[in-house]
């Protein structure tokens, strides 16, 4: 890949020639097809297939060159979804006129000089093949001016026909224009999708670049219309919000990790969506490592792990995570499009992301509002705010989308005041003065807004202390022995008694098993509970003993196909949990190959699984009547326990109907 850097090294295009020498002609066989050396053009075109798939790949590669050239602003112009024209203008360092021709040559780059440098690549490009590949399948021109030059030089090409560099008018930086992509490879051109689809892909590429490089300004024009414009010099938070959509702000949690100091060589910033905006696929996860968008399993797993138990299985958290790390700690040369990276120390990255995201989730009240729940469940989730979340590729050019946006931005300012008022209420409801998304600034804003609007003075900003302690739920109504209804500052809370109790139990037990290290206290049984087992289960029992002891279970084989439960966790016994049932489930898990592997390792995951099963059995069930004291105790635990918004399976424990929701439902607004 080759680009704007001033000097270009000459490590050059001997690759194809060497390949020819090796491929010596072979004799024999009736009429063998003669082996011929491919023309350089065809060779490049084949190589182009690796890198240049569609207009979006061109956009991505060229933006990366601009970034590597140190641009502060990058302007992208597209026509017909990029099929007709792609123009990338930057204000980077430019290319010396005499290097312009080299820019078109394959394996020519200014970014890497030796194999050793591949060990720590600070730039986005390094292979020296992008420009050559793009040039071989399009009509391209590069116009560039370095700071030292008085005027720009321009060099055009058409397929393998390279023109001569001639002076041209132009400001500092490089402009690459790519026309008629795949004009000389009709087969590839045929495979391009519709204009909206190709355009959508280009938007994704630009958005990715914009999120990855908050300091660089990006402008995207399509058919003369500006569709994205973000200024240079933004912070990561502002930039992510600018791209993902400001409306999402209240649904996003900030997480960060700065471990550079600890010598770990990694920093991280991210915004993760609350469980309520989880998606059906993981496409809404944007991960950037050193300015490079990647699909990384390690990081995606860490995110999923942090959300474990907060979202239902089969749904994926939304997240945008920016990671910066020592280039030596990450190998970027593992994928033709550089969509994957390999970490030298994957587990450290995993830990860092997991902890940061977990911490962000832990300090947040994740109770979903009934409104969004209902909308989501009824499949009406196409609120304007979702559109911004990158997945819907063609959204920006669909006229309907524009209308939706108009509708949302046309909300009366009273609505904005209302939002501020709500933020204010939430601020005090949570009693955590500095917590990510509502900082002092927004509080101030909210307070000034409430002064302007007399209705908002109901919040009594003059005496905030009175509102500080969260009012404990006084009256609790148990509905059909299944759901609890109570109120908090924001409105009505509806709690699924089993789900909440299950979460509470789960956290208690996990705390015991994992953190305290001692394991669960267990009660020996007077008469062992005898359970039928298979021979495999009996054989595997001994290996499980340490894990079982941690869980307060003591199982012993008393026959080739019989297992006796000698002891079970006190806690479970007191809840009337059936020892035989627990033992049977454990044994079944041990018998399945997958379960056995994880049980053998006694990983946190499998412990969670088992504790989850125990918690489910110990928890009150739907249909269990509870006394007022029990209800109050359970709700008090809701405040005390982490992640109480969802049961360990990820289903919500609580739904909130805010006063605003109620007012809306009753037509009072």
């Amino acid at each position: 890949m080759r680009d704007g850097a001033p000097q270009i090294d000459q490590e050059v295009a001997t690759g194809s020639r060497r390949a020819v020498e090796v491929a010596a002609p072979v004799g024999g066989g009736p009429k063998p097809a003669r082996i011929a050396v491919l023309s350089p053009l065809v060779a490049s075109q084949i190589a182009a297939g690796e890198v240049v798939e569609r207009p979006a790949s061109v956009v991505k590669e060229l933006i990366e060159n601009s970034v590597d050239a140190g641009a502060m602003r990058i302007e992208i112009e597209l026509e017909q979804g990029g099929i007709e024209l792609i123009r990338i203008m930057d204000d980077g360092c430019g290319i010396e006129p005499e290097d312009l021709a080299l820019a078109y040559a394959p394996h020519a780059t200014s970014k890497v000089k030796s194999a050793a440098e591949l060990e720590r690549i600070p730039t986005l490009g390094f292979r020296g093949e992008a420009v050559a590949s793009i040039a071989s399948v399009s009509r391209m021109s590069i116009r560039s001016r370095t700071p030292m030059q008085e005027s720009a030089f321009e060099l055009e090409s058409e397929g393998d026909v390279l023109g001569k560099a001639k002076p041209a008018a132009g400001s500092r930086g490089t402009t690459v224009t790519v026309r008629n992509l795949f004009f000389n490879t009709p087969a590839r051109r045929k495979f391009l999708r519709t204009i909206p689809t190709e355009y959508g892909r280009c938007v994704e590429a630009v958005e990715n670049a914009a999120m990855a490089h908050p300091a660089i300004g990006f402008t995207l024009k399509h058919d003369g219309r500006v569709t994205l414009d973000v200024p240079p010099g933004q912070g990561p938070r502002d930039r992510l919000l600018a791209v993902l959509g400001k409306e999402l702000e209240s649904e996003l949690l900030e997480c960060s990790a700065d471990e550079m100091d600890a010598g770990r060589g990694m920093t991280m910033f991210g915004l993760v969506g609350k469980p309520s905006i989880a998606r059906g696929s993981n496409k809404a996860q944007h991960i950037f490592v050193n300015g490079r968008p990647v699909r990384d399993r390690t990081i995606m797993h860490a995110i999923a792990e942090a959300f474990r138990g907060l979202i239902e299985p089969g749904r994926y958290p939304t997240a945008a995570i920016l990671i910066e790390m020592d280039p030596a700690m990450v190998d970027v040369n593992v994928h033709p499009q550089k969509a994957e990276v390999r970490f030298r120390d994957g587990s450290r990255v995993h830990q860092a992301v997991l902890h940061a995201v977990r911490a962000a989730l832990a300090k947040e009240d994740l109770t979903p509002r009934a409104e969004s729940m209902v909308e989501r469940l009824s499949g009406l989730a196409q609120r304007p705010m979702w559109g911004g979340w990158g997945a819907d590729a063609a959204r920006a050019i669909l006229p309907a989308h524009g209308q939706v946006q108009v509708a949302s931005s046309a909300m009366p300012s009273a609505e904005a005041v209302e939002q501020d008022r709500q933020k204010f209420a939430e601020y005090f409801a949570r009693q955590q003065p500095m917590q990510g998304r509502i900082g002092y600034a927004s509080l101030q804003q909210a307070m000034s807004a409430s002064e302007a609007q007399p209705a908002a003075s109901l919040m009594q900003p003059a005496e905030p202390e009175l509102l500080m302690p969260p009012t404990p739920a006084k009256q609790v109504l148990q509905v059909h022995k299944s759901f609890l209804v109570t109120q908090d500052e924001a409105g009505v809370l509806i709690v699924d008694q089993h789900a909440l109790h299950e979460r509470v139990m789960f956290e208690f037990l996990m705390q015991r098993v994992m953190k305290d290290g001692a394991g669960l206290e267990s009660q020996r049984l007077l008469v062992p509970v005898v359970v039928d087992a298979t021979e495999v289960q009996v054989e595997r029992l001994a290996t499980l003993t340490p894990l079982l002891n941690k869980l307060g279970m003591e199982l012993s084989a008393i026959g080739p196909r019989t297992v006796a439960v000698q002891a079970m966790a006190t806690f479970l016994i007191e809840k009337g949990v059936d020892a035989g049932e627990v033992a049977r489930e454990l044994l079944e898990k041990a018998e399945s190959e997958q379960g056995w592997q994880s049980l053998k390792m006694a990983s946190e995951e499998v412990v969670r699984d088992i504790v989850n099963m125990m918690a489910c059995k110990a928890a009150v069930k739907a249909g269990d009547a509870m006394t007022q004291t029990e209800l109050a105790d359970l709700l008090a635990l809701r405040e005390a326990v982490d992640r109480s918004s969802n049961c360990p399976h990820g289903r919500p424990t609580t739904i909130r109907l805010t006063i605003q929701d109620l007012e809306k439902l009753f037509g009072r607004t």
């Binding site: 394991g519 008469v527 006190t570």
Partner: protein, 397 residues
Amino acid sequence: MKVICDRAALLSAINAVARAVPSRSPRPQLQCIKIAAVKPAKGGGELVVSGTDLEVAIRLSISQVEVNQPGEVLIPSDKLRQIVSAESNEPTLTLEVAGDHVTIRGADATFKLNTYPVADFPPLASYAETVAQTSAAPRTRTNFGIGAGVLRTLADRTLFATAKEQSRYAINGVLMKRDGKKLTMVATDGKRLALCNGGLGAGSSKDDKAVSAIIPTKALQMLRDLVGDVEEPVHVVLTDSQLICAFGGDISGKEPARATLTSNLVEGTFPPYEDVIPKEQDRRVTFDRDVLRSAVSRASLLTTEESRAVRMKFSNTGKQLHLSSRAAEMGEADIRCDIAKFEGDDIEIGFNPNYIVDALKVIPETEVIIELKAANKPGLVKAGADFVYVVMPLNLT
């Protein structure tokens, strides 16, 4: 039917019988109390009050009554009870049945209650009839007499160890075993087991073979509460499916009983309790009951639902028991208690303090012995000659 009845006697009979009446039932007839007025040929009169939930039935006789006209009636239990209880100024009440309603009359009040047909009330097994059938149809498995006081002691010293809530593996009943002139009751909830022996009264032959049955916990509680005079003889008959206990009267059933309780038996097998009682305990520690109870109760203050254990260190050298407990996020307790006598080596073991205290509450003897063997082996609590209590330890973490 028309009777004039002593109100207080009627109320206490209704209260006792109402315990067998289900508070909820799809059949309203079951939520009734049956009252039968009998006028024996030899004179006097008697009111028989009965109620049942089909599992257990209680029948009581009241003699403080003047029967003008014999008869039977089925009256909703709740209302009858409320009315008789509310007429607190009346020494007597008149009950008169006419058609499908009953009139309850005090000096200044008349209540007219709808009734149900008496035929809707399930027939209750009678002690006399069951005993009389012994020779003809040998349904009776055993038949004996016992002092009411002994019966109550046996119940008191076992009932506490039954399972508190319904669980598939718990036995919701108490084992009753009659062997010669000895009656044994055993109760367990899977974590502890209480056993108590008592002697049988007159009319029981020591040659009778051993017979056992499981009595529902609820029935044994009612049986215990029917005990008034500890000297009163109770006559018990066990069939394959039922227990019938007659208070007062005689063993043949010819003399009418003051109160009769009938209960279905619990089906199933009781755990082999004799195997559970450890035989080879090598540490034997004697305590003053009250000293021990106070120490264990105080240690239990700092236990929680998920951390029940009180750690008990029995030290022979210092003749001291050191109890300690720790509740996460709450605190710790540390208590020392004197040992009266110690045979064997030091030992450390964890117990649920409630289980120990439960037993100490029902022990009348001032001297209590705890026998132990190892930290993961059952502990034994003994008092007097008749009471044995096995309690499983908690694994200390």
